[in-house]
Symmetry: C2
Subunit: 700 residues, 2 copies
């Protein structure tokens, strides 16, 4: 058997798939593509390898695209599908051209471990710059990279463009009921029992059919304002089974027209439960919160990690960095993280911030640092470093003369969806702290690849000094909001910069405590109402040891959504809204509207799943302290629970934790680095494969 | 009738077509793509227009790609094909996504001159950067451009990707003869009488067929070394008519296999004889040279202006700038020029020189200046200026500390194919003079678009001063060759920098005369053997008034090729080669080899057609002096001919010239600017539409 893989130009498959992915979004039947530039794969690339064959072998060659085949410097006729090589040193150069999908190559030899087998020891370039002078002598100066590949994309008879990342399974609705009688048939409302995603299947349908989708019952029933819908014209003679071409997010569908039965194909990215994270505890509501969080993250983790599965359906860097962090505590699907990072970055030239948003560019960098910490995968850092550098060049070219991040006129400055007045132009303290973290991450990456031409660390230090000078108010013990146009200090205090200062090691422990007391626990500071920023808020509180308070918050906020009928977590939730009419799904209508549209809010939004991260990191307490779990801490914190049990995935398999008020048991997977368990006042080293049980000795 | 056009993102159709075009090259049956990066069209673009409709109208919408349709800010369901609009002010925004070809749009209204008709008053962007805030308010900062379009690409029922620029016509071979008897059939050699281009048609063919192509008889007969060939496997039952899928260049084809008859489809870019240039004179050999030059340029002017039609089949900037200049005296096909300029430039980021060649980047700029001088088309300058600027940024970023052009390790420095030893690394004087001209051209373009942020003129002046200091030898009265690595002056004298100094106004008239005498007419300076650099050499001599000498050279050099049996002009010709065995086509075999391959030389190479330019510009003597023939000179020069007649095309139609030793008649087309005729010591103004006949009054 061959161990070959399909290989391609690194990052190009994500760019190609991302264009498909991001263009699937619809808005009431109209396609809705992104508003930033969409890059393309290289249409012509060259694959090459030099190797020594110990015995003669026959190569089998599979290509997506048209190609040429050069053996030992000699171009061969046509597009050979097999090639016999004698023993000896050989060089293969294969140029592949393909417009419709990334040019890709798969070669295997008939002997085991043939060195010509395509894998990451091959090299690929989009410009070999090889020219032949008048004497027939070749000169070249191409930049050769390690090719891209995906696990399981290794069937030579399936072109990579046909390779399916996702799987489907058929599901029935849990109930249906007629809502209106029309001529000869009833409009039927189907309820699939919870938020779901996939393709509606119509059984025995004919004629004109309309389908109105709803994440809520109210939405599906509202033909004028539901966000997604389909109008079809099927043959009057009828079809046995018709599958809607576009995937959709919904719990309910209202089907208008002559249809005997409606089912669906649920579409999902497979995962392995055995290597996944888990969490159960003495609090049933919290267990349900964890389960619904996991379901929310699974629904939004697909070809890429997307934000919301109904409306947005794009990759967003600020959402994605949270999905990545949750993922490190749920599925540890590094491939999904890498795919999303590559897709978000796109190609040079950089003509806008990631997703056009200033902060989202910074999150893109910061996600690299997180990825490296959790996985220790320096290969990926080496792969993306060139594009990280050009993105940072773009950032640095748009700073103020003083080196501060500022929203240029064509930048979107997001921070958060806020309900209180907050100015977003000018120099925001929040953005400086994100940039500080990005510069530190770039220094980390530069160290990994050995690039000594930039001193990002020095830039970070200078930025920190300047930020402290400009924004720290030593009376209020808080970072102030912004310097607005005209050099006017806006002394508003929000949690945004202050919690990032806590999380991104921007402040020492004394100042951390001041921020905790004067900002994070200060009731006069405006509350955060999106799960997006609650992610950082609650993480910051946990980091400061406030697990008991945070647990109450989780139960109140996410528990609040569950009580409102949520079956997946939402884009935004305001617990203080007055009661409003509810559908049979229990959701008050006032919770559904956003962006000025009655069903504009996404009811399944990745950033809603943050309890996965919080419970894994700050309650089960597993935190890598050296890249790839070379060392890690286990600092369990019950936060008021009677007991908890769970697992945190790592590159080596899950770490198991079981704790009650007295006893802690931790099981380390084989091959992992050295852990340090903190339990009460005990501090114990945990070796790979070891099980340790600790009992509290003193009072706590 | 509608006056709508298909519109797309400017330049994208050329980039898309260029990838197809440049990947058609083959080498003995293997595809042979370029060695520089190939860019892609934007896959998602937005078209928009705001307009006032005086009466209601119905729009008809045609799109290449999937699309959405926004009317007055409201997205409509699905992909409407017609849309009714009431009278009033309207705004259309249409986003189109297409992977396989540039997203394109065609709209026409039913009323005459509907303002919604797609034309260049629409706007297009690849990133509108329009984001919606939490209150549903839209913010945008896209850069909107004038869309691209092509003349005649205006049939709504033909998608632009299906639009054919080229036409075909069926031709028979002029003769054929068996060359070898095989089992049951004879291998047949078909002669199409002259160099040609298109698709071989096999009549009544069956089984295995091989076709060996030759620009010369020798090549077609040499199955082992001919540059292009096809191997086919047709049904044993036979086919009536089989068309080879790939176009090829050839005069001869050797067909091996069972075929009753072989014909071809000649493929060509149509042109209008009535608006073309022409030249006839008292010298029959010169007439034949002009005719074969015209045929050579027509064969190489296709989707783009390519170099050679057999082997290279790519666009090359150094070749193209000469094709453009010849074209201004033959077909004045501005569209072909624009297509080639756009294709050569590609997209940002710039990662290599144009075609990877330092000098070819400079020619790309210089061609812009030529284009503007001949056409006066400032729209096109505005279109390409942003990409000209980023290309110049690339150039400036790779100069020496002293601001001099140098071949970096990954640059190809071409200059010319030379037969004498010539060092090409280090700081070449030749490259400085090309860069000087490029900087001047950029200043011209910056003035047209009103970009006052760069002072290219100052850079050009500084470069000129430095170049004169470093390279002008006042004893030898010549520009010396180079400063090599280690700051060593290479005092070789070649014609290359010196003739460019003459042509690019780098020197005053006194120094011009010195260069003429000490370099251009100096027999000790190595001769130029490519038509490529003979173009500049002979132009420089003509510019210095050496028409009689140049005419002799043309007759000797191009006449020499004709005597060798050329039916189109070659990539390279060395008149001093000793005689070698000839085929029945009369071509000595020694003339065929190049690049170390027996048939490596291209026998139909655009740069071989330069007599078109020389005869039009320096003998008929028509030279624009203000952009787009706002003013122009007519300076006829018989160069020893008894008489000459001809036409030079302009944007307003051809200028006709007829001259003998005494009498000159010039006819100006309507609407052209003011011409100045120089004849003997007379200097007369010529108005649009006017005919002037002058007779020499004094002796000459």
């Amino acid at each position: 058997m061959s161990k070959s893989q399909w290989i391609w130009f690194p990052g190009d498959r994500e760019i190609w798939l991302g264009n498909d992915f991001n263009n699937r979004r619809t808005e009431r039947g109209a396609m809705f593509p992104p508003f930033w530039k969409q890059d393309s794969h290289w249409q012509t690339v060259e694959f090459s390898k030099e190797f020594t064959l110990l015995q003669p072998d026959t190569l089998h060659i599979f290509v997506e695209g048209i190609y040429n085949f050069m053996v030992d410097g000699k171009l061969q006729f046509g597009q050979p599908q097999t090639w016999h090589l004698e023993a000896g040193v050989h060089r293969l150069n294969i140029k592949v051209h393909c417009l419709s999908a990334p040019p890709s190559l798969y070669i295997y030899g008939e002997r085991p471990d043939c060195p010509a087998n395509t894998d990451t020891t091959w090299r690929v370039t989009c410009e070999d710059k090889i020219w032949i002078d008048e004497n027939g002598v070749a000169h070249g100066s191409g930049i050769y990279l390690e090719p891209g590949h995906w696990p399981h994309c290794d069937d030579p008879n399936t072109l990579p463009s046909q390779f399916e990342l996702l799987q489907t399974v058929s599901l029935n609705a849990v109930s249906h009921r007629p809502v209106q009688l029309e001529e000869g048939h009833a409009d039927m409302l189907y309820d699939f029992g919870k938020e779901t995603f996939g393709y509606i299947l119509l059984h025995q349908a004919k004629g004109a059919i309309s389908i109105f989708y709803g994440e809520s019952e109210a939405e599906a029933l509202d033909r004028e304002y539901c966000e997604t819908l389909d109008h079809l014209q099927l043959p009057e003679s009828g079809t046995d089974l018709y599958q809607i071409s576009g995937s959709k997010a919904f719990r309910y569908v209202l089907v208008v027209g002559q249809v005997e039965k409606v089912t669906m194909l649920y579409e999902y990215l497979p995962h392995d439960e055995a290597t996944s994270g888990s969490f159960t505890c003495s609090d049933e509501e919290l267990n349900r919160i964890w389960q619904v969080s996991a379901y929310t993250l699974d629904l939004t983790t697909r070809e890429f990690m997307m934000d919301g599965i109904k409306r947005d359906r794009w990759t967003w860097s600020g959402d994605a960095i949270q999905s990545y962090l949750m993922n490190y505590y749920l599925r540890f699907d590094s491939e999904a993280v890498k795919r999303t990072i590559r897709q978000l970055r796109g190609k040079d030239p950089v003509t806008a911030h990631v997703n056009t948003i200033l902060d989202y560019t910074f999150y893109w960098f910061n996600a690299l640092g997180d990825y490296y910490l959790y996985t220790g995968d320096d290969n990926f850092i080496r792969e993306v470093y060139p594009r990280a550098k050009t993105l940072m060049d773009y950032v640095l070219g748009r700073l103020t003369d003083e080196g501060l991040a500022i929203g240029q006129p064509d930048d979107w400055v997001f921070v958060d969806w806020v309900d209180f007045p907050m100015h977003k132009r000018g120099i925001l303290c929040f953005e400086q702290i994100l940039l500080y973290r990005s510069l530190q991450t770039m220094q980390l990456c530069a160290n990994i690849v050995g690039d000594h031409n930039r001193n990002y660390e020095a830039m970070a230090k200078a930025l920190k000094t300047k930020t402290d000078q400009l924004f720290w108010d030593n009376n209020k013990k808080a970072y102030l909001h912004a310097i607005e146009e005209g050099n006017v200090l806006n002394d508003q205090i929000t949690k945004f910069p202050n919690m990032m200062a806590l999380l991104y090691d921007f402040v020492d422990s004394a100042r951390s405590k001041e921020i905790l007391d004067h900002v994070m626990l200060n009731a006069d500071v405006p509350a955060i109402t999106t799960p997006y920023m609650r992610f950082y808020e609650l993480a910051a509180l946990c980091q400061m040891g406030k697990q008991e308070e945070v647990l109450k918050e989780i139960k109140s906020y996410w528990g609040g959504m569950l009580q409102e009928g949520a079956t997946s977590f939402w884009e935004k939730y305001n617990p203080t809204l007055p009661p409003s009419p509810k559908g049979s799904d229990g959701i008050g209508r006032a919770h559904l509207e956003m962006y000025g549209r009655p069903y504009g809010k996404s009811l399944c939004h990745a950033w809603g799943a943050s309890p996965l991260y919080l419970l894994g990191k700050y309650y089960l307490g597993v935190i890598p302290t050296q890249p790839g779990y070379r060392t890690y801490d286990v600092r369990p914190h019950l936060g008021g629970l009677t007991w908890m049990r769970g697992a945190v995935p790592t590159p080596f398999g899950p770490i198991s934790i079981s704790a009650d008020a007295q006893t802690l048991t931790v099981i380390a997977p084989p091959s992992i680095g050295e852990g340090t368990i903190y339990w009460g006042d005990q501090c114990v080293t945990l070796q790979a494969g070891q099980t340790i049980t600790l009992t509290l000795t003193g009072e706590r």
